[in-house]
Subunit: 216 residues, 2 copies
DNA sequence: AAGTTCGGTGTACGTTCGTACACTGAAAGC
DNA sequence: GCTTTCAGTGTACGAACGTACACCGAACTT
């Protein structure tokens, strides 16, 4: 049973703000943010168009808020991947990472979908925000890689380059998983194939890394 | 001096069609195709809006035409990369490939820009067309890789996986080159850094490939 | 209890959009 | 030469867009 005490003003505002973010995310499922109109969002939320401005000054700044929000769940995923050494074999790291990625893509479809779209097509400021967040991911990965035997003797530059490669491959994997989800009839087998490919690719890259000689 | 003979009807039609494609491509430089209106294109070309329908039945089918056109130049690039063995060392292959990529991105900016945008944000049919073309590229790369010592003993599946990885990395490199071109003040050094990264990544992947044991 | 703040309303505007329809005039076909 | 074809014209419409402006009423402040 819900307590029926009257809503405070900030609560109500926050609730509407959430509704706007959710509505925008839903509308972004099948077209880019630039193609979403203020009026559509307002109608979806159930407010009058001009009320939108009480929360965001433009669709673009709504986009920036959605980027922040999306990367909260992404960071949660990364924390999940690197949770302290339950597994230490290379195979274990690879399998665990890919499985975690799959789980989070399923769980936060619309966020990943939004990022994948706007990464290439959004307004400049949104693209830059996404690029920046991905760069942070690469840096975090680089510091993790630096603890592995082999890469621990590399130059910082080589570490950067390797994590860029890995993150790129994982972003691509996520995008493939997303588009496989658009056709639910054969989704399971498609997901299996995509994750298997991702696992193999990670292994190939790691083998390359183990045989790499960093020369400064 | 231009010969002044009267234009034939098909010539004139083709000329207008080209103008429409060029105008659309230009308008796509700073927003996605879905956000480009039929009227904008028509105004840019200098025809009345309804005349657009004499050439395309919708913006979407215009998009498909642009995909075709863009991949003509991309295929030209790939032919260029694989031109018969002037160089045979791994380093030679890598350096040559990356340099060719850079050259073609510069030369066909707007085409690459269009593909990069619509690959993630375009209408479904456009996204599928692009995905299909990229898959063709991966297949061609796979048959090339199959001639290399090492990969020549691989399973078809492993070859597919490796070329998917390489193509993904190259697509990402192209996208980075494109966004570096948006800020002309430091473009040269940015391009140098990006291509250097791409070279290193290709080498890392190839080293992984040389040490890979394909087990069926 | 009186006054202020502010999320949400309702109307109203000028613009731009896609597209329907009837048309024109020059090249193509006979 | 007369007819047909068809790329391009011009007008006209309803719908959707962003946004300006005056307003309301309930939650807050004092």
């Amino acid at each position: 049973m819900t307590t029926n005490r009257p809503e405070t003003r900030v609560e109500r505002k926050e609730r509407t703000r959430r509704a706007i973010l959710d509505a925008a995310l839903a509308l972004c499922e099948d077209s880019s943010l630039a193609a979403v109109s203020l009026r559509q969002v307002a109608k979806e939320v159930g407010i009058v168009p001009t009320a939108f401005y009480r929360h965001f000054e433009s669709i673009e700044s709504l986009g920036l808020a959605l980027v922040d929000e999306s990367f909260v769940s992404l960071r949660a995923m990364l924390r999940d991947v690197r949770r302290p050494g339950v597994v230490t074999t290379f195979s274990g790291i690879v399998d665990g990472s890919v499985e975690t990625l799959l789980r989070h893509v399923r769980q936060h479809r619309s966020h990943f979908l939004f990022i994948a779209r706007e990464r290439g097509a959004g307004p400049l400021s949104v693209r830059e925000a996404i690029r920046h967040e991905i760069e942070l991911c690469e840096r975090e990965l680089a510091t993790d890689l630096a603890r592995l035997p082999g890469p621990d003797k590399w130059t910082a530059e080589d570490l950067r380059v390797l994590s860029n490669l890995i993150v790129t491959a994982m972003v691509s994997t996520a995008e493939q998983l997303l588009s496989s989800g658009a056709r639910p009839e054969a989704q399971q087998s498609a997901e299996k194939e995509i994750t298997e490919t991702a696992r193999t690719q990670l292994r190939m890259v790691l083998i390359g890394a183990l045989n790499w000689e960093s020369r400064p």
